[in-house]
Symmetry: C2
Subunit: 340 residues, 2 copies
């Protein structure tokens, strides 16, 4: 039986191009003792995938040339030779960009509990890595305090939109978003209920931040790096905390902009800390429960941007890197895979 | 009676020039009830003074035009109308660049204990702000751990040389300095007993750091910012800590170099934290006792660079900013002021 898959054909120089990946067809993997066969239903498209395409040291090894593109996804177990999974279980984990994959001793999946009352796309968005990342950045790394002025970049994105709402829920006084373009900024305020949203494409971001945060920024959740981070550094409050979650502005061959304002960390006694959500696995179950409860109670707005078809996964990643998505970007590989 | 003083004549654009400061003569201040009159003996020349000359927000307000240049110093009490100081006490505090000053309710001084067994220049160096800064950066902010690979920039300077020795004393496995020029690098290794010292003026600092620290840098004590900081960011170990103490490379009108490698804080889960030693006043007495004991036991090498005459204080600051000093830069205003 066929297994269509998207492999890395060449390392991108700058932006992803038509020749970066290749759709090819292989054999459906056979399920050995101790393994389970998974039909992939949906892929989570995350900016970090772009970093794995470079031949550069990172928190995970680069994707091999000719190898299936690494990425998270969800699927349903169709055959199981391990007590860990039952046929019919919906699971999430590192499926890669393909139609079929195996759960093995090394590649583990989490079983989505039945009766969550949420659809699969919502689970992939809010309860997936992006939602937990938002929680870890705001609470663990950023150390949110009652009354904080919080700024979130890529505020219309899957992580940023949840981060802002969690900051509000946790007692922030003011929550300011930064996003690209008037339409996104409007969405950040209207859908995700930030107090305001600044368009980084307009001039004088640092000055506009100063107006929006006259007491300075206590907590900055950074998804973009570069010039936006530099503008926030120019507006830190005393003892400010900067949680570095990503640097999407520098991933896709953009001209890299050096930070000029890090000395503000000295005068403001600020802390800038990078994190990877995989270091916080012990928090996942608890945080997912908290997030699911917020969604069911209508206290966490979320939006999914569905792209149909495995072959369009590369386009979906490009769209995300260009900032043209609205909400969590997901690729539907098999619409038959759903939550009961 | 005359009080010669150095005042800020104009705000420097870039490097300090002959017209930045002016030596002028005023009246010796009168000692009112509750005050003490201090004859200034020695000035501590610190890079941070340069930042106070700019009309920019900082951790202290800018020095006023026409006002005495702000700075730390030591002196002897010659008249006292407060029980806080006795005539003959040697005191340290913010004397400013002048021959006479007053201790008031607002401007307090610390009395140097008698019987320390150290001369005044040593006290101004190791027990002064620079020594305590080194301790705070290595221990409190940097969180030194047994076995750490530690890198210190401006390693031949007053703060850096003490920081490296404190790291060694506290259990660091490897202590690497960064300094300007072969002569300074030699001094860092021979006098201050760093394991090695890299000359930042030579090419490929990042690559040379990789050779010197093959396991990566656990703790970086940064005094300079700019390109040197960026090179260390490219070599962080997992969970690295960067203590930002100063950014001397960017103080004196140098072309500011933007940081390109802060995203390494994400992949390496690093923390970069700025600090100002004035926030750690409660540690001063204990740390000074520890440092004095190390000096007396011969376990803390130190060197003072004495410049004679109040009128040469501006030159001394310029020399420091050019990195041409050897050890702690001090200006002798009155050689008669000494410790018993």
């Amino acid at each position: 039986m066929e297994n269509r898959r998207v492999v890395l054909a060449e390392r991108p120089r700058g932006r992803l191009g038509a020749s970066t990946t290749r759709l090819e067809s292989g054999e459906r993997p056979a399920c050995a003792e101790g393994e389970a066969l998974i039909r992939v239903g949906m892929l989570s498209i995350d900016a970090t995938i772009r970093t794995w395409m470079d031949d550069a040291p990172g928190y995970l090894p680069p994707i091999e040339l000719g190898g299936v593109v690494r990425g998270a996804g969800a699927g349903v177990v169709v055959e199981s030779r391990t007590p860990r999974y039952a046929v019919g279980d919906v699971v999430v984990g590192m499926t890669g960009w393909q139609e079929w994959t195996l759960a093995t001793d090394e590649v583990r999946f989490s079983v989505v509990p039945v009766g969550l009352g949420l659809d699969l796309a919502t689970v992939m968005n809010v309860l997936g890595v992006t939602g937990v990342t938002a929680w870890v950045g705001v609470r663990e790394v950023g150390g949110l305090r009652e009354g904080d002025t919080v700024v979130v970049s890529a505020a219309g994105g899957a992580t940023g939109s949840v981060a802002g709402q969690l900051a509000r829920e946790g007692g922030a006084r003011t929550v300011i978003g930064i996003a690209g373009g008037p339409e996104k900024c409007q969405e950040v305020v209207e859908t995700y209920r930030f107090d305001a949203c600044l368009d980084y494409r307009e001039a004088n971001l640092a000055a506009r931040l100063r107006e929006a945060c006259p007491q300075g920024v206590d907590l900055y959740f950074d998804n973009v790096g570069g010039a936006v981070l530099d503008a926030v550094l120019a507006n830190l409050a005393m003892h400010a905390r900067v949680a570095l979650c990503g640097a999407i502005a520098q991933y896709d061959g953009a001209e890299r902009q050096g930070l000029l304002n890090t000395a503000a960390l000295i005068t403001r006694r600020g802390t800038m800390r990078g994190f990877i959500v995989l270091d916080y696995l012990e928090h996942f179950a608890r945080v997912q429960g908290e997030l699911a409860a917020m969604v069911r109670a209508g206290r966490l707005a979320h939006r999914e941007h569905l792209v149909e078809g495995l072959d369009r996964a590369p386009d979906a990643l490009s769209m995300l890197l260009r900032g043209e998505n609205h909400g969590k970007t997901l690729v539907v590989v098999d619409p038959a895979v759903t939550l009961a």
